[in-house]
Symmetry: C2
Subunit: 241 residues, 2 copies
DNA sequence: GCGAATTTGTGCGTATGTATT
DNA sequence: TAATACATACGCACAAATTCG
């Protein structure tokens, strides 16, 4: 890596962090595998071990890697375990996040509407992939959702099964690191169509979850509007720090 | 501070962090004031500047202090600005958190019920302070809340005006550092009494916000159940990271 | 079961960069 | 401009956890 590049404003440890993040995204070190140890990385990149440590600190706080003393550093699998439902605030009785099983209802590729362009920060003419899905938990239908994917953020997107994957898995396949999401929670009367699909009475009160998921670069990748009927032993839990 | 104490498992920088946190809580450095610089702290405590830096990193990430290069390190005022509404997910149109103006309706000191003991992790016989309040934003009534304060966590609590202060201000006065909160969001039909107080029709759809606020030690300090009628230009926004 | 090797974590010290006053 | 204070970068030594022979 050599001495600090005068033309890049970024501190060296940030450059290292970004380089490693890029490698993680590229699949050089697949999910679950081990990274080279810190000294080796420092040698290879020509920086001090302290600089590598700061870079790894950053990657760890972004949940891209996990480190364990005496063991080493491994790559987090975003598509399995708790990471897969990271952006769901629906939890079961034990407090674990619920993703649920998805059933794709319909899917269509289209030019983004004005609203979609606004929410996903897209340009005119950009394409989106709209998916309508149902979600079940323990065979109970609890959610109906319309998800809109910004296709330009997913180069080489496989449109065939994109709608059947949750955003965490899809992002990992495309080397995209998800960073955060913000979800607007409101109460809304359910539409006749949704009521039928969720098998509930019209006028039943539902949670409307309007969520945008952002990638590490700060740009939005998915906009989803879901109607959720909280079943017994399910709750919406917002953590504030 | 000297060499590492063999009987305390904590790393030195954690010990320094806790010592400084304690000083902050004690009011030695009041909100808004400047801390001694890093080298001075290191000299005074007899540790390296790197250790002080790690301690300050931790305090900063816990939002107890803010550091600015070239300027120094100052103490965050938890009772004003955004910090005061840190545990409210209700936001206005510009995305700023809304605390609102509080109007105390009633207040009573009592022995904790079983539910209160459970939510606040109290022992039998512990006292709580129950406050019922209304909240307004721009003269619009939007929230009715029942707050339960664990009195044992607030030594020397001034019962007279405890109910009129928001939890962030109250905690700061008692040298308690708030760390996190978790809020259960559900839909519930409003009670007749709440409906009257919020000046809305019965059967209007409301958000029920059931929130517990935790201090830095991990113990709960306040349990609050609120019914919120989201007015125009207000929204509930949950951030996920 | 024990000890050696490996790997991350902690702690120290120093030099230099950069933003603020 | 000069002084101050935090930020970055380097390097070394040792501690603690894990793994493996």
């Amino acid at each position: 890596m050599g001495p600090r590049d005068k033309f890049s404003i970024e501190p060296l440890y940030v450059q290292v962090r970004n380089l490693l993040a890029q490698r993680l995204a590229s699949g050089v070190w697949p999910p679950g595998s081990m990274l080279p140890n810190e000294m080796e990385l420092a040698r290879e990149l020509g920086v001090s071990s302290g600089t590598v440590r700061k870079a790894l600190d950053s990657l760890e706080s972004d949940r891209l890697i996990v480190r364990r003393q005496g063991r080493g550093t491994s790559v987090v699998d975003q598509a399995s375990g708790d990471a897969a439902a990271r952006f769901s605030n629906i939890r079961n009785g034990e407090g674990r996040r619920i993703g649920g099983d998805m059933e794709l209802i319909s899917q269509i590729k289209a030019v983004a509407t004005a609203t979609e362009r606004q929410r996903l920060q897209l340009a005119a003419g950009d394409f989106v992939l709209r998916s309508t899905r149902l979600r079940r938990y323990r065979n109970q239908l609890f959610m109906h959702e319309d998800a809109v994917l910004a296709m330009s953020r997913f180069p080489g997107l496989d449109e065939k099964n994109a709608g059947t994957l949750r955003i965490s898995a899809l992002a990992q396949r495309h080397g995209i690191h998800l960073a955060k999401a913000s979800e607007r929670v409101t109460l809304e009367e359910v539409s006749a169509q949704s009521a039928e699909r969720l098998d509930i009475d019209l006028h039943t009160r539902l949670l409307k979850l309007d969520r945008v998921v952002y990638a590490a670069g700060g740009y939005p990748v998915e906009w989803r509007v879901a109607f959720c009927s909280l079943k017994e032993d399910m709750l919406y839990l917002a953590e504030m720090v």
